[in-house]
C-alpha cells in the first residue's frame, strides 16, 4: 500500500518534471525560431482576415441579414433560406444546368487534352511539336473577358464572322447567344478552345515519364504502333487520367460564374443559369445576402461531399487516389 503511494508520488513528480521540461523546451524552441514566427505574421494575418473571417460570416446563411445591425445582430432563422431555395422555382433549373454543363464538359472537354497529348507524343519533328504547343496554349493566357468578347462578336447576329459566313452561303442569320438551345454548345466549345492545349501539359509530362525500355520491349515482341499506344502508352498515363477525372467529377457542381455571366442573357437563363451565377445575381446584384449565402453554402457542401466520394470510389476501384 505504502509502496504504491510512493510509486504514484514518484510518478507525479516525474510527470510535472516532464511538463516543465516540455514548457522550457517550448520556450527555447520559440526563442530559437522567433524569426520564423515574425515571417508568418503577415501570412497568417491574410488568412485570418480574408479567408477565415468570411467563414465566420457564413452564419448569415442561417440568419435574416439586417443591414444596420450587421452580421452579429441579425436574428437566427434556422434553415429558412435553404428551404426556400430547395422549394423555390430556381433550384431545379440551376441544379440541372450545373450538372448538364459539367457533364458536357466531362464528355467533350475531358478527353480532348488526352488525345492532344497522345497525338503530340507521336510527332517526330520537334519544331512542329513546339509550334503546335505554342499555338494551343496561347488562349489559356488570354483573359476570359477577351475570349468571351471574341465569342460574342463572332456570333453577333449582324456582323459576326459566323453569320457573315452563313449568309455568304445563303443561310439565314442566327442570333446564337439568344437561343437557349445553343448556349451549352457555345460554352463548351469556348472552354475547349481556351483550355485544351494547356490541359494537355499534364498528360505530356506524364507521357514523358514512361520508361522507353517498355516501348523497346513491346517492339521486340512484335507490337505495332497502335498496339504500343494501347498497351504501353495508355496504361502508362492511366493514373494521371484517373486523378484528373476524379478532380473533374469532384468539381461537377462547381461551374464557375466568371465565363457564364459574360455570355448569358435573361433569354438564355433557361439553359445557362447555374448555381454560382444565381448566387452572384441574387447576392451581389439584388443584395439578398443571407439567401445567396445559403445557396452558396449548399453548393460548397455538396461539392465537398462529391470530392470525397469520388476519391473514395477511385481508391476502391483503381487504387489511385488524391490522398
Amino acid at each position: 500500500m505504502q509502496l504504491s503511494t510512493k510509486a504514484r508520488l514518484k510518478e507525479t513528480i516525474h510527470k510535472s518534471d516532464k511538463n516543465r521540461i516540455n514548457l522550457e523546451q517550448c520556450i527555447s524552441n520559440f526563442k530559437k525560431n522567433w524569426q520564423l514566427f515574425v515571417l508568418l505574421i503577415p501570412f497568417l494575418l491574410f488568412y485570418v482576415f480574408f479567408i477565415y473571417k468570411p467563414m465566420w460570416g457564413l452564419q448569415i446563411a442561417f440568419k435574416d441579414y439586417k443591414l444596420f445591425g450587421g452580421i452579429a445582430e441579425s436574428p437566427w432563422v434556422g434553415f429558412k433560406h435553404f428551404e426556400s431555395f430547395l422549394m423555390g422555382p430556381y433550384f431545379l433549373n440551376t441544379f440541372k444546368n450545373t450538372l448538364m454543363i459539367s457533364l458536357y464538359g466531362l464528355i467533350f472537354g475531358f478527353p480532348i487534352p488526352i488525345f492532344l497529348a497522345l497525338l503530340l507524343n507521336e510527332v517526330t519533328s520537334r519544331k512542329l511539336k513546339k509550334a503546335v504547343q505554342t499555338a494551343t496554349y496561347l488562349p489559356h493566357f488570354i483573359s476570359i473577358v477577351v475570349i468571351a468578347g471574341i465569342v460574342v462578336n463572332f456570333l453577333s447576329p449582324s456582323n459576326g464572322l459566323i453569320n457573315i459566313i452563313i449568309s455568304k452561303f445563303g443561310g439565314e442569320k442566327v442570333y446564337f447567344l439568344s437561343k437557349p438551345e445553343y448556349f451549352r454548345l457555345i460554352y463548351i466549345i469556348m472552354g475547349i478552345w481556351k483550355e485544351s492545349g494547356f490541359g494537355a501539359i499534364i498528360y505530356i509530362a506524364s507521357l514523358s515519364s514512361i520508361d522507353p525500355n517498355l516501348y523497346e520491349a513491346a517492339y521486340i515482341d512484335g507490337a505495332n504502333k497502335l498496339k504500343r499506344i494501347l498497351q504501353v502508352t495508355i496504361p502508362g498515363i492511366m493514373p494521371t487520367i484517373i486523378i484528373m477525372f476524379i478532380l473533374k467529377v469532384g468539381k461537377m457542381i462547381d461551374v464557375g460564374f466568371e465565363a457564364i455571366i459574360l455570355l448569358y442573357q435573361p433569354v438564355t437563363y433557361e439553359t445557362a443559369d447555374v448555381i454560382s451565377t444565381y448566387v452572384y445575381r441574387i447576392g451581389l446584384l439584388n443584395a439578398r445576402y443571407d439567401y445567396a449565402t445559403a445557396v452558396g453554402l449548399f453548393n460548397s457542401v455538396i461539392s465537398l461531399i462529391l470530392v470525397f466520394t469520388a476519391n473514395r470510389i477511385s481508391r476502391k476501384v483503381s487504387e489511385t487516389s488524391l490522398w
Binding site: 460570416g57 496561347l138 488570354i142 477577351v146 460564374f257 460548397s300
Partner: protein, 290 residues
C-alpha cells in the same frame, strides 16, 4: 525501331492534323487581327477571312485616343506589378517557415492553411467581409485581399523543402546566421526559377482578372483594363444588337472592337514566350512533386 509504311503514313497524317489543330487554335486571333485592320466594307461582305483587306488603321487611331483604355492600362499595370510583388512577399512569408520541420506548431498551421483548398466561404461572405471592413472601392483592397494563393504557397514550400540542400543552411547556422539571413542569402537566390514561375502565375491572374475588380471598384479612375474591356467588347455588342439589329450605318463598331481586343492583348503577346517557358516548368513541378 523501324517504321512500317503504315506507320509512316500515320505519322504524316498526324503531323498534318496537328498543324491544323494549331491553326484552328490561333484562327480566331488571326481573324480579329485581320478584321481590325480591314475596311468596314470588306468585313461586311465576308472578304476578310485570313488577311486584312484594304488596310487602314483608323480604328486603332480611334481606340488609342479613347482615354478610358489608357486609364485601364495604367491601373492594370499598377495592380499587376504591386499585386505580384505583395503576392510573392506573402507567399515566401508562409512557405519558408512552413518548410521547416523545427517550426513549433507547424502541423496545425499547415492544416489551417491547406483546409482552404477544400473549403472557402464563397463570394457573398467574402464581399460582405470587405464591405464591413470598409474596403470597397479602394485600390489597396485589390492588392491585399488576394495576397496569397494556397496552391502557390504549397508549391513554393515543396520547392524549399526538396530542392534547396539542407546542408547549406546547417553550415550557415554553425557560423551563427539567423533565419532571415539564411532565407535572404541562401534560399531566395537558389529559388529564382520557382520565384519567377510563381510570380508569373500571380501576374497572369492579376492581369487577366476582371470579376473582383468589377465588384470592388466603383470609380472609373481605378478600374483595371479587363473591367473596361468587359464594357467595351462584351456589353457594347449585346446592347447594340438588342436595340437595333440593322444598324449598318454604325458598323465601324465592329472593327473598333477588334482593334480594342488586339491592343489589349499586346502585353500578353510580348510576355508569352517567357510565360510559356515558365508555366510549363511550373506545371511539371506541380505534377511531379504534388
Amino acid at each position: 525501331m523501324r517504321q512500317t509504311t503504315g506507320e509512316k503514313i500515320f505519322i504524316f497524317i498526324n503531323n498534318c492534323f496537328l498543324a491544323l489543330i494549331g491553326f484552328i487554335a490561333l484562327y480566331p486571333l488571326i481573324y480579329v487581327a485581320a478584321a481590325s485592320m480591314s475596311s468596314t466594307d470588306a468585313i461586311l461582305t465576308g472578304k476578310v477571312l485570313l488577311l486584312p483587306i484594304e488596310i487602314n488603321f483608323s480604328s486603332y487611331k480611334e481606340v488609342l485616343s479613347e482615354q478610358s483604355i489608357w486609364i485601364g492600362y495604367g491601373n492594370a499595370i499598377y495592380y499587376t506589378a504591386v499585386g505580384t510583388a505583395v503576392n510573392l512577399f506573402i507567399t515566401v512569408c508562409g512557405a519558408y517557415p512552413l518548410s521547416k520541420k523545427r517550426l513549433p506548431g507547424r502541423k496545425y498551421i499547415t492544416f489551417f492553411v491547406v483546409l482552404t483548398l477544400w473549403f472557402q466561404a464563397g463570394i457573398i461572405p467574402f464581399y460582405l467581409n470587405l464591405k464591413e471592413m470598409g474596403l470597397l472601392n479602394l485600390r489597396i483592397t485589390i492588392i491585399i485581399a488576394f495576397a496569397c494563393s494556397t496552391f502557390n504557397m504549397i508549391l513554393m514550400r515543396t520547392y524549399f523543402q526538396s530542392s534547396v540542400p539542407a546542408s547549406l543552411e546547417e553550415a550557415a547556422k554553425v557560423d551563427g546566421a539567423s533565419d532571415l539571413y539564411v532565407l535572404g542569402k541562401i534560399y531566395l537566390p537558389l529559388s529564382k526559377p520557382v520565384l519567377a514561375t510563381i510570380g508569373l502565375f500571380y501576374a497572369v491572374n492579376r492581369w487577366n482578372g476582371y470579376f473582383w475588380p468589377m465588384i470592388i471598384i466603383r470609380d472609373n479612375s481605378k478600374m483595371p483594363l479587363q473591367v473596361i474591356l468587359k464594357k467595351m467588347i462584351v456589353e457594347m455588342r449585346i446592347e447594340e444588337t438588342i436595340t437595333d439589329m440593322d444598324m449598318f450605318t454604325d458598323f465601324s463598331v465592329e472593327s473598333l472592337i477588334y482593334a480594342t481586343i488586339i491592343i489589349s492583348i499586346v502585353p500578353m503577346m510580348i510576355a508569352y514566350p517567357y510565360i510559356q517557358k515558365f508555366f510549363t516548368k511550373g506545371m511539371m513541378i506541380g505534377a511531379i512533386k504534388g
